[in-house]
Amino acid sequence: MRSDTSKLGFILLLAPLLIWLLTLIILPHVGMFIVSLREKVGIREYETGFANYAVFFNEPLYWNTFARTAYMSITATFLTLLIGFPIAYYIAKLTRGRTKTTLFLMCLIPFWVSELVRTFGWMILLRETGVVSSFLQYAGLTSAPIEFLYNDAAIMTGLVYTSMLFMVVPLVTTLDSLDDSLIEAGYDLGGSSLSILREIVIPHAMPGIVSGCIVVFMLSLGNYLTPILLGGKDSLWFTGLIYSQFITRFNWELGSAFGFLLLGLSSLIVFLALKLSGQSLGKTMGR
């Protein structure tokens, strides 16, 4: 009797998980894959095949955009790590008590604010009549307004800003757990700052670095707002292509193929990152 009720309880707990995963995650992706294999041969007539994928590979604009999105996202990830690491180290190791809490909170606040608002802030700063341009004119550094928006540098600024917190927060968490005495021991044994960073700090922070990089890369790759708003109409971001196939052109077959390619790319890079660093998804993401 007792084992019967516990079995019932188990099934009742399992059901929501299975329903959620099946109807909202697994089946939709399978469905999307099936749609991506549909070739339109006439009105309401379809055949199965890889024609949509062939369209992608035969049209340079499509795969150029794809490669560009990947390349820009990887660059953004590196920049975020490079800028964020010293900050995380400062918060985790060089401050304590109230200062530490305050700095950490200051990092978190922009992360809570809508991405749209953050991007909007950068638009006000960078546009031709914006704050930066006006300030430069006021300071006498330039005589005419400068347009800082609608180029790759603007997109990069926005991407790094948007994802910074997703890098800093896991880094602070892992660096916090590094015992200070290990660093001191490194110095006692005659290590230089650089060798200690390389041999003690970075290896210890690796789970944080990997999970930060994965999240930042994913967010950049799947970002839509920042490239469209800061990069202007010609910003060429792959999610923009997916959106236009779905909503503007109503070509769901090609859009699904694009979606699947993006998903494939992101999974591949996440997989490679996990393999190269010897981490696992459960360990890094399921914190």
Binding site: W112, G121, Y243, M285
Partner: protein, 283 residues
């Protein structure tokens, strides 16, 4: 603080300057957005034309403030309704998941755990389109078979809620599991020894212990739902939530009314964010 480590004064000051610059960079866009909400001009840009409350309380065109701007108020209500359902659903499912993963051992547990984490690494826009494609094909099949209309499966608020729920549940599961792992199960056993039923012990002992984490998960879910854009954009019908409405406005050209909305959003998100931290601190 590591005080024993030798560092040159120059290095220390460079480091501090770098950290200061970083925090200026973090604050700059948000501060700018807030400041321009009070600029007495119809564009959110320089020159500064003086201070005004018009973008909050103005009633005449072109200076209709947020509190009199119907479409924006309506989209805030829409966002609120969506956030309510997303947060409720994801906390319920998240709590079940937490009990399942923390308390039970079964075949395929690891696989299910990895599947549960997947929404973290699927781009939001792809979650959106896959749900869009899937629900439309079901709607088409059902409509052909029955001749009835299934509007709930077409882009609209139900799909927006489901789309956001699909990935926010993962976050809720992680937050609630973390707290459940810290639960001392001898407390529950004590309740059982004292004659409580299994469900009674969970309701009287375990759930009150979990409550702060559930509330924190709910607050985080509301925040994430409010600010979500990518998934929502693909599933939105005629009633647009706030972020989509603001995006449409931004594409047309912005007025300081958007700064005023943004300022309100910043304040509300900061308050909710701090609240979720306070709740988690009870751990």
């Amino acid at each position: 603080m590591i005080t024993t480590i030798p560092q040159s004064t120059a290095f220390r000051w460079t480091y501090r300057a770098y950290v200061t610059l970083f925090f200026i960079y973090l604050a700059l866009p948000l501060v700018t957005v807030c400041v321009f909400a009070f600029n007495d001009s119809v564009f959110p840009s320089l020159p500064w034309d003086g201070f005004t409350w018009d973008w909050f309380f103005g009633t005449e065109t072109p200076r209709i403030g947020v509190f009199h701007e119907r479409p924006i108020l309506r989209s805030i209500v829409t966002s609120g309704v969506v956030a309510f359902w997303v947060s409720g659903l994801s906390v319920i499912v998240g709590t079940c998941n937490a009990f399942l993963f923390v308390r039970h051992d079964f075949r395929g547990k690891n696989l299910l755990y990895i599947l549960m984490l997947l929404p973290l690494i699927i781009p939001g826009i792809i979650l959106g389109i896959s749900i869009l494609v899937f629900s439309s094909s079901i709607a088409n099949t059902l409509e052909e078979a029955t001749g009835l209309w299934f509007d709930g499966l077409r882009p609209g608020l139900i799909l927006v809620v489901l789309g956001q729920f699909s990935f926010i549940t993962t976050f809720a599961t992680l937050v609630i599991s973390a707290r459940l792992q810290k639960f001392d199960s001898s407390l529950e056993e004590a309740a059982l020894n004292l004659g409580a039923s299994k469900w009674g012990a969970i309701r009287q002992v375990t759930l009150p212990f979990l409550f702060p984490a559930m509330l924190a998960a709910a607050v985080v879910a509301v925040l994430m739902s409010f600010e979500n854009f990518n998934t929502t954009l693909m599933l939105v019908g005629s009633d647009a939530p706030l972020t989509v409405t603001m995006f449409d406005r931004l594409k047309l050209g912005s007025t300081p009314v958007l700064n005023a909305v943004s300022l309100l959003l910043i304040v509300v998100s900061a308050v909710l964010g701090l609240l979720s931290l306070l709740l988690k601190r009870e751990d």
